[in-house]
Amino acid sequence: MAIEQINIQVALKEFAKLTAVVRSQPGQRQKIRDRLEPHTETLIQALNDFIKDGCSHLPEQTKLVVIADNLDRIVPIFRDNGRSNYEEIFLDRHEQLKALECHIIYTVPIALIHSRWATELKDNYGIPQVLPSIMVRHEDSTPYEKGLDTMKTIIRLRLPAVLKASGMSAVFESEEILQELCLMSGGYVRDLIQLMQETINRTESLPIRERAVQRAVDALRDVYRRAVEEDWWEALREVHQSREIENNLLHRGLLLSRCILEYRYYKDNGDKQTWYDVHPVLWKEL
């Protein structure tokens, strides 16, 4: 394919093709990347033409937002010179990443926001927004009902129609069990779903009993425990005590692996308060 002379119609088709190739033959990614590299400028131009064209068909007062999801989950790879693929992606290429003429949301690995590159990240993109975990407990560890309600709603909305009518009491043996499940997720939605799934794996017939939740929590704990090297437990204990993190490699790594979760709330006077805690499944290990 000739990338040199791209016009919008061709571009559209070719992009579709490229996407298809990347999806069906992921092994070709590197090759495609290498081929495209010299043509980045042209591609961005074509994309912008495409965006402009798309926007012209939007209803008035409507704007386009592109969300590049899952970039936060890129596994870090460190080069011999100490740089990481994060820096290569988000900092070295910031010009290109910002070149699209629409709103665009990139999900960055949380570790990058807390790293020595934070300033550069801010200078290039503006202050990054952190999507904290949903607070299921207050900073003093007592359950936070509003957050718990949100978690429960997420579960309720995913119930199959037959069960929606009969409500949560038909699904969970008791309110406490549901509460426990939500608390154990740490307000992290992915884990809430994972826990729910493992609970169901471990339930023969409804309602869900305490033991099933307990075993699902054990399974999740087992996964989290693996991300913690033995001498990191001390650091986790400290975070659990102080509800604070230090800006160092270890804590950034623990944030990335979600062994430490970040929470935010607004105080009565409107001040934003940020605090941290160890993922609740790990508390038992501290």
Binding site: V75, V162, M196, Q197, I200, E204, S205
Partner: protein, 535 residues
């Protein structure tokens, strides 16, 4: 996000009582519960679903059998990966198109990971900062799984079950979290205590020599297997844990990973400070790390508990010898030999120590004792030769060397030493031949090359001598002694300009050694004089 919506599964709630498996009375209640969970999850899922089952390979086979028995109406396909596997999707889809299976069991993923540097980290206990660790990238199979995720879901409406050992799950969690997070379930099967006991029993009888014969990948497999067992034993069983850790340490040691080995032994000793075998193994590692004082302390710990542990006395002697505390070393060897008079290593080492004390006759007696017990122990023949040489009994010394070389003709050091004695006897041709034989075995031995070159020079074979010195200089380019020898050869070959270059190089190295300068001046003096005569 997790793509499997759990909501769908409620349709299939059948309210049936927990499965009871025929002929599976060997499953413990815990295993049975985990197994029925797994079977239930597999039964309920429609479309693509991904399960991870942590188990030992043997247990994995049994689990696959049970799945087969429980779902006779479903087609099950087995996929065994090996060290070379880099892809899985293609194999699955090709097979799926012809066989239309509903369940795919994949084993052997761990095989694709053994060669990776990360694996070594996961295998040990070394507490290095994971984020300072230089990752050697993600193993091809894991990136393959990460990249093909979506294709699996779109095109393979099957239950995909990975049966993997513990460390492979660790690997997934750390290096392919996206793929792992897609799981519809994670199940963990522990081995029964009888199986574990059987394993311990087999492990304890292993000889260190056996470990040395392993390939790096086999060794890694074994180390990980042990680590896996450590996680399975009763945490209060410190004795067993300590034994396993020590075994792990010995495996690391046999592969030359001394730091990891030491870490294992230290942990073994934290678990059970009374594990004198671990103290002993630790002393071996410390010795290899040239931390002799600490090695001695470790030996002392062994001997406090087990005064008749003669190998510890032997190790202690060796460490003392390396600290040049020869008298004490002899005492230690004597203790070892009191307990075990057939410990020929100690007789040999005792001989070496005596030689340093210039007690050559006694040294020879010691070597003779070693050779009485083990006539094929060639280092003792060589050492005996050295002692005889020191007593100027050259003929006997050469005979002793010949003996050593008859047993091991690749014992290059002995070829060199033999050449050296022959040189002293001015049997230059034979001496050179001996050196050359040694250098065929060890082509880059600096000392061998220099000595051989010197002999060649003495019989006026300057060109050959020059070759020898050049080779030595490749190994140690700044050796003033060799540069000087080289210059002299060049002079003899009338290559004056090259000789001068060699002298210039010596000047550039700018040694602090008075003698270097002295010889340089001396050489240049004669050199220039000769030049004047010639001109």
């Amino acid at each position: 996000m997790v793509k499997q919506l759990w909501g769908k599964e409620f349709d299939k709630f059948e309210g049936q009582s927990p499965a009871i498996f025929e002929g599976l009375d060997r499953w413990s209640p815990e295993l049975e519960e985990e197994l029925s969970d797994l079977l239930r999850a597999v039964r309920r899922k429609k479309g693509f679903s991904l399960f991870f089952v942590q188990c030992s390979p043997a247990l994995g086979e049994r689990i696959i059998e049970v799945i087969r028995e429980r779902f006779p109406q479903k087609k099950l396909a087995r996929f065994e990966l090996d060290r070379e596997s880099k892809t899985l999707y293609r194999e699955l889809i090709e097979s799926y198109q012809t066989k239309q299976f509903e369940i795919a069991c994949v084993t052997g993923i761990e095989q694709t990971l053994y060669a990776y540097e990360d694996t070594k980290r996961l295998a040990g206990w070394s507490e290095q900062d994971i984020y300072n660790y230089s990752w050697k990238g993600v193993p091809p199979l894991l990136s393959h799984l990460n990249y093909h995720r979506e294709l699996f879901e779109e095109n393979l409406p099957v239950a995909l079950i990975f049966l993997v050992p513990r460390f492979a799950i660790d690997y997934f969690v750390q290096r392919a979290p996206d793929f792992f997070d897609w799981r519809s379930g994670f199940f963990k099967f522990m081995e029964s205590s009888e199986d574990l006991q059987k394993y311990f029993h087999e492990l304890v009888s292993q000889k260190y020599g056996k470990y040395l014969d392993l390939t790096p990948e086999q060794r890694m497999e074994k180390i990980l297997e042990i680590k896996d067992k450590i996680f399975q034993i009763d945490p209060s069983d410190n004795e067993q844990k300590s034994n396993l850790l020590r075994e792990q340490g010995r495996l690391f040691e046999s592969g030359g990973s001394l730091v990891q080995a030491l870490e294992c032994h230290d942990r073994a000793l934290t678990s059970n400070p009374k594990n004198y075998n671990a103290w002993h193994s630790k002393s071996c590692v410390l010795h290899s790390l040239e931390r002799y004082e600490e090695a001695i302390q470790s030996c002392d710990r062994v001997l406090e508990m087990q005064p008749s542990y003669y190998r510890a006395w032997g190790n202690r002697g060796k460490a003392l010898y390396n600290l040049q505390r020869y008298e004490e070393a002899i005492e230690s060897y004597d203790r070892a030999l009191e307990i075990q008079p057939n410990y020929y290593y100690a007789w040999n080492n005792r001989g070496i120590t005596l030689r340093y004390l210039k007690q050559y006759e006694e040294a020879i007696e010691s070597y003779d004792r070693a050779l009485e017990i083990s006539p094929d122990f060639h280092p003792a023949w060589n050492n005996r030769g050295i002692a005889l040489y020191c007593l100027k009994r050259y003929e006997e010394a050469i005979k002793s060397c010949n003996h050593a070389l008859k047993i091991d003709k690749n014992y290059y050091y002995c070829w060199f030493f033999r050449g050296y004695i022959l040189g002293e006897l001015e049997l230059f041709q034979e001496a050179i031949k001996s050196y050359e034989t040694g250098l065929e075995i060890k082509i880059d031995d600096y000392q061998g090359l220099v000595s051989c070159g010197n002999l060649l020079r003495r019989v006026n074979r300057y060109q050959k001598a020059l070759d020898s010195f050049e080779r030595a200089l490749k190994i140690q380019p700044n050796s003033i002694r060799v540069l000087r020898l080289k210059a002299r050869c060049l002079e003899q070959l009338n290559l004056r300009k090259d000789a001068l270059d060699s002298y210039t190089k010596i000047r550039e190295i700018n040694s602090n050694n008075f003698w270097d300068w002295y010889y340089l001046a001396y050489d240049l003096y004669y050199f220039s004089e000769q030049r004047e005569i010639i001109s």
